[in-house]
Amino acid sequence: MLRITHLFLAVLFGAAPALWAAPVSPVAFDDDEEEEEAEEDEDEDEKDHWIAVVGGDVHTGTGAVLRGATVVAKNGVIEEIGWDPWFPEEAEIVDAAGYFVYPGLIAMEAAPGIVQGGGAVEEEDTHGPHGLDTQEIANHLARFATEPQPTQAAIEDSYDPFGQNLILALATGITTTVNGDAAIKLKRREIDDIVMSEGSLQSFTWSRRNPAGKRALREKFERASEYTRELREFEQTKSKDDEEKGPSDKGVDKQVLAVLGGQTRAKFTANDRTDLLSLARFAQEFDFRPVIEGCQEGWTVADELGRAGATAILTPRDTKRAREELQLETGSTIENAAILYRHGVQIAVVPGSPDVNLGGIMGRDLLALPIEVGFAVRGGLPEEAGLASVTTVPARLLGISHRVGTLEEGKDCDLIVTDGDWMHYETFVQYTVVAGKLAYDKQEEVFFSHIRPRPVVEVEETEDETEPAETPDEETEEVDDDDDDDEGENDDEAAGDDEEGADEGEDEESEDEG
């Protein structure tokens, strides 16, 4: 009953703009026709690309779940999400009936091989920084720190929109990733406008093994905040005379200043309880919100981290052994993400390895990102926070939350269509849409098409059931049908598919090795 009211309200709101628009136009018809005509005219001029993802249960990422809804996008931007929205006939149609629709996932960490293809990954790079001891992590970071970050032009000029690893990332549901310090939209078949943002995070080192470095960083922050205070005072007391000199910015670290000013966020790598604690206090002292990668023992000092407004980038399946000799809580726990979240720490999840490379039984690589989040949810992280950990939270960190992370009108149409809950190990991404274009279709690629093949849609079914007199589009018929009994159908499909795919499982394994 509640759902019906929702539906009714949505339809009412959806229709409202059209009703208001009607009196304005000289020849007013009483429904959407006027609007349609206007938009069709535009099409002829600019050849707009439309896509309609029809009839799925749309998890918008804002908390709302629109069952059997349709997402319509024009030129890569979401036009409308709702029931029975208008879209032109030539629109690309993705039939999501009986499936789930989620925002595209954002991988905060990915090997350059995903973006640049070629596949020539160094032996060293196949092992990520996680799961190693802190010294090794420091070495790893030092190596990265000395490597120059690729510029936007360099990334765009070397982007491989056909790479096998790229397709596998799309098959995982990842639509945005990072290369160097740039956020990359994983467009398929196109090389234009792939860099979404650059330099949103500023890396600093903070380790109790390096007290001199900590001291130096503190001095930098002190100088920068002193300058900020002076500047604010100057602005307040400044007379109208423009030529008056402001405070000297001598010795002020520009990067630190940007952090204090909120233009970028400071990123640290810390796993150790002591480091995390001192870092939380340091951040509170200078009033900035740190981003902490690793954060394995974060749960032991979660309250302090929460107070500091920290964001944790963690790999939930990483383990760190507890130091039994200490009368303290140490080591890693499955509950880490959940405890941090309860204390107000925002959680972003990254995979164990940024490569496409199955390490370990369940895979610790980029393709295991949903499983990684699932582990945090198993440890008590709310499911919504789980989705946010690979959508909205990374989007904010990368400074692209105005474009991606959730499904909302006006945002980029980057979405995935899955045949089950996105975190479930059995779930496959059926379709991935990037920038309003179908970038991955499970049945069209060699990787997973033979495992539980997508059932052929039976047209008879739709004809037998309710015959809608009003709706002209076939797609919308299916929407209505699925809205009534989609869950029951899903179960049936899943059961049938299991049997079909069982004998072909071996093939898939051998392909991965090759």
Partner: protein, 433 residues
């Protein structure tokens, strides 16, 4: 094989013309007319002609047709049990050269500078039917220009058919590589701009000079005037023609690209590079073909449609490739042709063995569904196009060089041998008759 009436008529007419010519040449003993009777001729340009007669004059094909009457007195080579086809053209080779090369942009470099005629490999290639060889400059970036040679001859001069056959450009997906190509054309733009300014300045100077002279004339004494005038006239003639400044050596090839004198053979390694190439070329218009080394796991099918739209010519190895990450085979050359592209085949490597099996390798693709006529064309006329020699080699048509392969069977059959090779009217390998 039945010919369509139209070309038949043409051939007969040319025969008549040649016959007339023949009588005149007969008058002078030792004329260079030779007629060859064969079982069949794969003409490439006009399909297969059964019982063909080829008339050769001065190293060129004078006429070719089915069962043409041969005038008395013309020497006849009877090869009625053999099939002929044009000599093979390999447009992508480093035969007889090493693989060392620098990087960066040196478009003015010529591969012919490395040519060493006494290298044994050339004669061996000739034995396997390669009568035209495109030797490319090695190196990365834009390493220079290829040279088309006949693999026969004692001196560099005797070997070269065409220097400046094509400009080799290597394009990989990165900023530096794309910039190198753009910079080449930008330099031409800069030169043109400079020249335009110089020309303008020169014209102004000319006007000033004229004015000065007029003034001078008035000022000077009447006596000296005559002498003075003569001198001035002489000077004016010298200045009358504007001599543009010599462009830098590395600018010339790109000017030639624009004017169509030179074409480029652009090497890419995957589909992404193709998109980046289009991005780098942007609006620039010049003739270019594409070289793609066919690796097993190449993803070129991703851009097959786009390549087909432009009707590009691709230089490929005859090889059945695999779908990346699988053992699933795909006939990529066939897919590309179906999309609208043209294909030129090259041996799988520069080794003698690869040249020996070249025809068979191509036959493998034909067995996998590649069109037979296109396959023969891909070893002859298409690579000749790449080298800018389509009007000389690659097909059996009047006015083309008489480069003939005499084969004892179907050219694409594994058991078929090259019985003899004729290079520009002379038998250089084997014997017929």
């Amino acid at each position: 094989m039945v010919l369509t009436p139209k070309p038949m008529k043409r051939i007969l007419m040319t025969t008549a013309a040649v016959a007339a010519l023949a009588t005149t040449t007969l008058a002078a003993p030792g004329g260079e007319l030779v007629a060859i009777r064969v079982r069949a001729a794969e003409t490439i340009g006009q399909g297969r002609i059964e019982h063909a007669v080829i008339l050769i004059e001065n190293g060129k094909i004078a006429t070719i047709g089915q069962d043409l009457p041969i005038d008395r007195g013309i020497r006849v080579i009877d090869a009625r049990d053999l099939t002929v086809m044009p000599g093979l053209v390999n447009c992508w080779s480093r035969a007889g050269m090493d693989s060392q090369g620098g990087s960066g942009s040196q478009p003015q470099e010529l591969a012919s500078a490395e040519l060493y005629p006494r290298d044994k490999s050339y004669e061996e290639l000739l034995e396997f039917g390669v009568t035209t060889l495109g030797l490319y400059p090695s190196g990365q970036g834009i390493p220079g220009q290829a040279v088309a040679v006949r693999p026969h001859g004692a001196t560099v001069g005797e070997m070269i058919v065409r220097d400046n056959a094509y400009l080799r450009v290597q394009l990989v997906s990165d900023s530096g590589s794309k910039k190198m190509l753009r910079d080449g054309f930008e330099k031409v733009d800069k030169y043109d701009e400079k020249e335009a300014k110089r020309l303008e300045k020169w014209e102004k100077d000319q006007e000033k000079k004229k004015k000065k002279k007029k003034k001078k004339k008035k000022d000077e004494d009447e006596e000296d005037e005559d002498k003075e005038e003569e001198k001035e006239n002489g000077e004016e003639e010298d200045d009358g023609v504007y001599v543009p400044e010599e462009p830098d050596a590395d600018v010339v090839p790109f000017m030639q690209l624009r004017s169509g004198v030179l074409t480029a053979l652009i090497e890419i390694r995957n589909s992404a590079a193709y998109l980046h190439l289009l991005d780098a070329i942007d609006e620039e218009e010049f003739g270019w073909n594409v070289r793609v080394p066919l690796r097993n796991d190449i993803d070129l099918y991703e851009v097959a449609e786009k390549i087909g739209e432009r009707e590009l010519r691709l230089v490929l190895e005859p090889r059945v490739t695999l779908f990346p990450g699988t053992r699933r085979e795909r006939n990529l050359p066939r897919e590309l042709v179906a999309a609208g592209a043209k294909v030129a085949f090259v041996p799988r490597s520069d080794s003698i063995r690869s040249h020996e099996t070249w025809r068979v390798d191509v036959g493998e693709l034909v067995a996998a569904g590649f069109d037979r006529q296109l396959a023969l064309r891909a070893m002859t006329l298409e690579p000749a196009e790449v080298l800018g020699l389509a009007d000389r080699v690659g097909s059996l048509e009047p006015e083309r060089d008489a480069n003939l392969l005499f084969l004892d069977g179907d050219p694409l059959e594994a058991s078929t041998r090259v019985v003899a090779v004729m290079l520009e009217g002379r038998l250089v390998h084997g014997e017929v008759d």
